[in-house]
């Protein structure tokens, strides 16, 4: 009889202990307040998932659990506390609310022209806010003139982002561009000379916070003739400013060039070494301008060109994208840079 009484008392006290434990979320820390022992486990989401990664400790009258990672938006956390004796208790907490205000849109796309060569190699898409990875194939389309989505246009499975997830490089399928490959023979180039297309970026694309974009983006363009000849700096037109001015040096290429490479593959050296200044790219990437920080001193200058600079079709200086090895006419340039000399003279 006394033994039974003792057991009942113990059971009651354990139940009371379990009831007096309060499960709380304090910032990023889960707590079983009122407990000095027991197992505190947290599960993120539903279903058969392992416990959330983190560490437990006993601190100031509470068993605490610190997750390895911060709590995530849109996730429900189930906290289970198993006391040393007695039944486990549990409670759920919501992570921070997901953001819902759209902030992202397509800001610009390069090439910017309305006519693209049929061997166009890459597109660079600039967003106003960081975007989510892994959605590009689903959200970027090229439509034909009847509004039908074209298949197998882009290189699959290759999302090439800048570190801020605001610029995406899309490569048109090089197997369709390179002459005489199986894809090229079976399907032709992704863009056909003379045909009309629309590039469509879906509004449903999520930004880095999981929020869709403000609006879809459309750009109409037409296929033009393939560009097979490599760019030749000897044909470029330079318009040197007057000495003492801060007017820009203007370089016209006579064709559109790769916008991203124009930011770093041209430089000007002069009497005082490399000229510091700001770069502008204009006329659908056919013109490059360097506005110097300091007025131009008169003297001899050189425009130094990295021979890896490409046009829209991936033709480099002195080296076409797909070299016709039987074509002996093309001048081959094997040096890393080439230079165009010019003079900056004083006004008369």
């Amino acid at each position: 009889m006394r033994l039974l009484f003792a057991v009942v008392t113990l059971a009651l006290s354990v139940a009371a202990a379990a009831q007096s434990v309060s499960l709380q979320l304090d910032g990023n820390i889960f707590k079983a307040v009122g407990a000095s022992a027991g197992r505190l486990t947290v599960y993120a989401g539903n279903g058969d998932v392992p416990p959330l990664a983190g560490t437990t400790a006993v601190e100031k009258g509470a068993v605490v659990f610190r997750p390895v990672f911060p709590l995530a938006a849109g996730v429900r956390y189930r906290v289970v506390f198993a006391p040393v004796n007695g039944a486990a208790i549990e409670k759920t907490f919501d992570g921070p609310a997901r953001q819902s205000t759209p902030v992202a849109r397509v800001e610009r796309i390069y090439p910017s022209a309305d006519v693209l060569p049929s061997n166009q190699l890459r597109l660079y898409i600039y967003f106003s806010a960081p975007m989510s990875r892994g959605e590009a194939e689903q959200r970027i389309h090229i439509l034909d003139d009847a509004g039908r989505v074209l298949r197998s246009v882009f290189l699959p499975g290759q999302e090439l982002w800048d570190p801020s997830n605001r610029r995406l490089t899309m490569t048109l399928d090089p197997g369709r561009i390179k002459r005489d490959l199986a894809s090229n023979r079976a399907m032709g180039p992704p863009i056909a000379d003379g045909k009309r297309y629309t590039l469509l970026v879906d509004r449903e694309w999520h930004d880095a916070n999981g929020v869709p974009m403000i609006e879809s983006f459309r750009k109409a363009f037409r296929g033009g003739p393939a560009v097979r000849q490599p760019p030749d700096p000897k044909t470029w037109k330079l318009a040197p400013p007057l000495a003492g001015s801060r007017a820009p040096l203007v370089v016209d290429f006579g064709r559109a060039m790769n916008y991203t490479l124009l930011q770093r593959m041209l430089k000007v050296t002069g009497p005082n070494g490399d000229v510091a200044g700001s770069i502008d790219v204009d006329r659908n990437e056919a013109q490059w301008r360097l506005t110097p920080r300091e007025p131009w001193p008169g003297g001899g200058y050189r425009l130094v060109v990295d021979t890896s600079l490409e046009d829209l079709a991936g033709n480099k200086i002195g080296q076409p994208f797909d070299i016709d090895v039987f074509d002996r006419v093309t001048e081959r340039i094997t040096t890393a840079t080439t230079a165009i000399p010019f003079e900056i003279r004083a006004a008369r």
């Binding site: 998932v49 995530a72 800048d162 079976a186």
Partner: protein, 376 residues
């Protein structure tokens, strides 16, 4: 030999075997590897080196880290099957499964444990993850902020003159450990280049290894710089090659002896797997005395290539060949579908990561499963 002597000899042999297996990790010129933050900005392509060293391609950080997993207990025979691996990893790190991106899968050849690289989040601040999956299904997060490691930087690109963060990245498309060198294939997000790098391991301070250009010729007439999408080491007639799949789809063989610093190497086409398709992963294997290569593709599913006479297949250099069936013959394998990653498990099994849907003309969608399959 009496019983005691036999015991002593057996013990000595056992110690030698254990010592051989537990050979310490190679050390750098600076001494033992330190247990510090691996400094990964992303965790992409995975491949194993010697002694449980896991190479992790960090495209966003422009580097490769060699992590000492400490996972050197030999195992064999077990299989792995984890359904909803994306949901389980998401649960482990406390996010919704949709916010997890699985990047690659590799098998430790010693322990047979599976390693998965992933990103916790899809934005620019996503946290890199490497998770060990044991045959029991147990998941363990590698502590990337406190792990023995070596790192080699690949970045040599000039910074943009526009200021701020350099927008140029070099995405690592594949890696393989060949003859003591880590080979790294990559693709720039700005210029069209075809750099393949060979880095001696252990990594030496300031050595980024040698770099060469890979080219491809179609029918002997048009040559193009050809970025490599995936590649595997392979021996043909006692010569070491790499079999490489280009982004423009042809499968080529390149003798490793050609891969010298600054070289301009042209791969010999041995198969063209067809239009609008990308090979994702390759596993060479031997079965019933014949050589095969299992290839997972982006839109053509899994194919089994007959590779007995790889040295003899005439290079595809004539415009008269039938595009889809040229070169080495292959069979389509329909028993496994939606394969996103494929890697060798043991001599007769592979591990696949499959998705419930997507692929081909859209991104793969979860849930994802990991399982061992018998090589067909």
């Amino acid at each position: 030999m009496d019983y005691r002597k036999l015991t002593v000899v057996a013990l000595a042999a056992a110690i030698l075997v254990v010592a051989a297996i537990r050979r310490p990790l190679p050390v750098t010129a600076d001494g033992d590897l330190a247990t510090t933050n691996a400094g990964l900005k992303s965790a992409g392509v995975l491949t194993f080196g010697p002694d449980g060293v896991l190479f992790v391609g960090d495209s966003m950080g422009g580097a490769v880290a060699a992590l000492d997993t400490g996972d050197r207990s030999a195992a064999s025979g077990a299989s792995v099957e984890v359904k909803g691996i994306d949901e389980k990893i998401a649960g482990l790190v406390g996010i919704a499964p949709a916010d997890l991106l699985i990047n690659d899968v590799a098998v430790n050849p010693i322990s047979k444990n599976v390693y998965v690289s992933a990103a916790r989040g899809r934005g620019p601040d996503a946290t890199p993850l490497v998770v060990r999956v044991e045959s029991s299904g147990k998941l363990t997060l590698l502590q990337l902020d406190a792990i023995k490691h070596e790192t080699v930087s690949l970045s040599d690109a000039p910074a943009s003159t526009a200021g701020g963060r350099n927008p140029r990245t070099q995405t690592i498309t594949d890696m393989a450990f060949v003859n003591g060198n880590l080979m790294v294939a990559g693709m720039s997000n700005e210029e069209w280049s075809s750099a393949l790098r060979s880095i001696p391991y252990p990594f030496k301070t300031a050595s980024k290894g040698t770099q060469l250009q890979i080219w491809h010729s179609s029918h002997g007439q048009y040559e193009t710089q050809a970025p490599v999408r995936t590649f595997v080491p392979y021996t043909i007639d006692n010569t070491q090659y790499v079999l490489a799949a280009y982004t423009c789809t042809p499968l080529v063989k390149i003798p490793v002896s050609d891969l010298k610093a600054g070289a301009r190497v042209k791969g010999v086409t041995i198969a063209d797997l067809g239009a609008g398709n990308q090979p994702l992963d390759m596993v060479p294997y031997m079965k019933d005395g014949h050589q095969f290569i299992l290839i997972a593709n982006s839109s053509f599913g899994v194919v089994k290539m007959h590779a007995d006479n790889m040295g003899q297949y005439k290079a595809i250099d004539s415009p008269t060949v039938v595009p889809d069936k040229a070169g080495a013959p292959y069979d389509k394998i329909s028993s496994v579908t939606n394969v996103r990653h494929l890697t060798q498990f043991d001599a007769s099994h592979a591990v696949v990561l499959t998705s419930a849907g997507g692929g081909g003309f859209g991104p793969p969608t979860g849930p994802f499963n990991i399982q061992t399959i018998a090589l067909p």
